[in-house]
């Protein structure tokens, strides 16, 4: 035991690992509601899964219109393990988007975007948009019928932007039609450009989390909280243990630090690990059982194929189906407006109240937005099954 301690001391003198370990493992985390906080780490695990499987897929995939489909078809026919890797890549992507949605809803409901965590929310929205971009660009790559028509329709969406629309489309497609340049550009965006922004942003998101501590939920502060109605809740105890990362000088007396905290390791890491491993097992099971489909090779001259959008595109596609052609630009403004509203949220809602049941002016429009998206997705899913 003495030798290990000696090695540890040697490393600590040179790389300051003791404080790193302490900061990483023994940070304070609120005690109650901890299962909800696992959604963030589940998102991280799934993104890392994507990174690893994606890197290994680049060892075989060729981003060329003549060879993309052939390389993946070869994988499908002759490489069972490679097919599983590709299946993991696909199903992990689908589940990742769903988990990100849950994570955003949880953060919205618990008011964790309020001061001083606004930047955390803003980087989070940026991450959401980038992951969505990854999902969209990744869908083009197999160059089968599904991928080709996804490419055609998705690159056509920006064309409805007034004035510059057809230029944006031409930039992405590399011309007026989808072709080899489209695939090369999209591959570069998917494999290099977006990840180069995504991973530093993830680090920033995590660093900000560490800086202010996990807010948690209002239930961790009950007791320090007196409701508007004067409901009998005991007032805050005079001496509250406030440990790092929670700021020693509270910005807001009531919501600065939770009443009770415990160590991140091993309590929260166990919960995080459990949820993540369940998700990974589900992804693995889906990858083995269903796998990643590969349809017939892209054929622009088809007159029998019905393109079907990816599930996360269903709300937008339902809107495109429901809305008459004069209003299409309005429909396409909705996602942009939605993202801008999300970014602006911490600056619109500046009240210190954290309890979701006590702030209906924010919860009602938020619930509307979520219900709107969910209902549109469910309405569109009928097309996935009625084919």
């Amino acid at each position: 035991m003495g030798r290990i301690a000696a090695v540890y001391d040697w490393l600590d003198e040179r790389a300051a690992i003791r404080s790193l370990v302490r900061k990483g493992l023994y940070e304070a985390v609120p005690v109650r509601g901890a299962w909800f906080y696992t959604l963030g780490s589940a998102t991280l695990v799934l993104i890392l899964l994507q990174l690893v499987t994606g890197i290994f897929l680049t060892l075989l995939y060729v981003p060329s219109v003549t060879e993309a489909w052939a390389s993946l078809n070869y994988l499908k026919q002759h490489d069972a393990f490679g097919s599983i890797v590709r299946g993991i890549h696909l199903w992990s992507a689908y589940i990742l988007l769903f988990v990100i949605g849950l994570h955003m809803v949880r953060t919205f409901f618990s008011g964790s975007y309020k001061r001083p965590r606004e930047l955390n929310w803003v980087t989070g929205v940026g991450l959401f948009v980038l992951v969505l971009g990854m999902a969209i660009t990744g869908a083009f790559l197999p160059w089968d019928q599904a991928a080709y028509w996804t490419a055609v329709v998705v690159t056509n969406i920006p064309a409805y932007t007034p004035f510059i629309g057809s230029f944006i489309r031409a930039l992405w497609r590399g011309g007026d039609f989808v072709g080899p340049i489209t695939l090369s550009r999209t591959f570069g965006i998917h494999v290099w450009l977006i990840p180069a922004i995504l991973f530093p942003l993830i680090l920033a998101h995590l660093a900000l989390l560490r800086k202010h501590g996990e807010f948690g939920s209002y239930i961790n502060y009950r007791g320090a909280y007196r409701s508007r109605e004067g409901v009998d809740v005991p007032p805050a105890p005079a001496e509250r243990p406030i440990e790092p990362p929670y700021p020693a000088v509270p910005t807001d007396e009531l919501w600065a630090a939770p009443l009770q905290t415990e160590d991140f390791f091993p309590f929260q890491t166990f919960k995080d690990g459990l949820v993540s491993v369940v998700l990974v097992i589900v992804v693995f099971a889906l990858a083995v059982a269903i796998g990643a489909p590969l349809e017939a090779i892209a054929d622009p001259s088809t007159t029998s194929y019905t393109p079907v959008p990816q599930w996360f595109f269903l709300p937008l596609d339902e809107l495109l189906l429901l809305v008459p052609q004069q209003l299409i630009p309005l429909v396409l403004v909705l996602p942009t407006g939605g993202v801008l509203l999300l970014l602006a949220l911490p600056f619109i809602d500046r009240s210190p109240e954290r309890n979701p049941f006590e702030r209906p002016a924010v919860m009602v429009p938020g619930a509307f937005a979520v219900l709107f998206v969910v209902i549109l997705t469910l309405l569109g899913s009928g097309r996935l099954f009625n084919l």
């Binding site: 930039l171 011309g175 080899p180 622009p300 008459p324």
Partner: protein, 162 residues
């Protein structure tokens, strides 16, 4: 030590120098990269004529599908098939593509409906290509074409851009 107000201090010089270097590097990198990203706007895609075939056998008011092979891009020898619908109405020929003007999904002729249908969002076009139902904002695009005797030739470009 008295300093002349017009002369730069060491600190100011280093500061300005860093900025200048940064600007030079940004320009050296930025101009080619931005130019590269914007290059598709300046380079017209290859437009060629290809023969479709003999259209004398096309029945009246019955869209007939042909498949024509065009070069896929300039750095590859591969070809891509494009679908062409030839419609004959009173010895007048219309040469449609199957690209929907809504979201560019593949349109197909539905004989039972007597209309072109886009399966993505239910867009409908009549036999003269006019958009009569659903979300499409413009009529079905036509290829630039010419007819030599009974042989049809088309270009891989539309008469009106969509």
């Amino acid at each position: 030590m008295a300093r002349d107000a017009r002369r730069l201090s060491r600190r100011q010089f280093a500061f300005l120098g860093t900025q200048a270097v940064g600007a030079v590097v940004t320009l050296l990198l930025g101009i080619p990269i931005v130019g590269f990203i914007l290059s598709p706007l300046f380079h017209r895609q290859q437009v060629v004529w290809r023969q479709v075939g003999d259209i004398s056998g096309v029945p009246d008011r019955q869209p007939t599908k042909f498949e024509v092979s065009f070069p896929l891009g300039e750095w590859t020898n591969a070809n891509v098939n494009l679908a062409v619908y030839v419609v004959k109405t009173n010895s007048n020929y219309l040469v449609f593509s199957n690209v929907c003007t809504h979201m560019q999904c593949p349109v197909r002729w539905q004989a039972d409906l007597g209309q072109f249908l886009c399966p993505c969002h239910g867009g409908l076009y009549d036999i003269s290509g006019k958009n009569i139902g659903g979300p499409p904002p413009k009529p079905l695009p036509q290829y630039v074409h010419r007819i030599d005797g009974t042989t049809l030739f088309i270009q891989n470009s539309f008469t009106e851009s969509i």
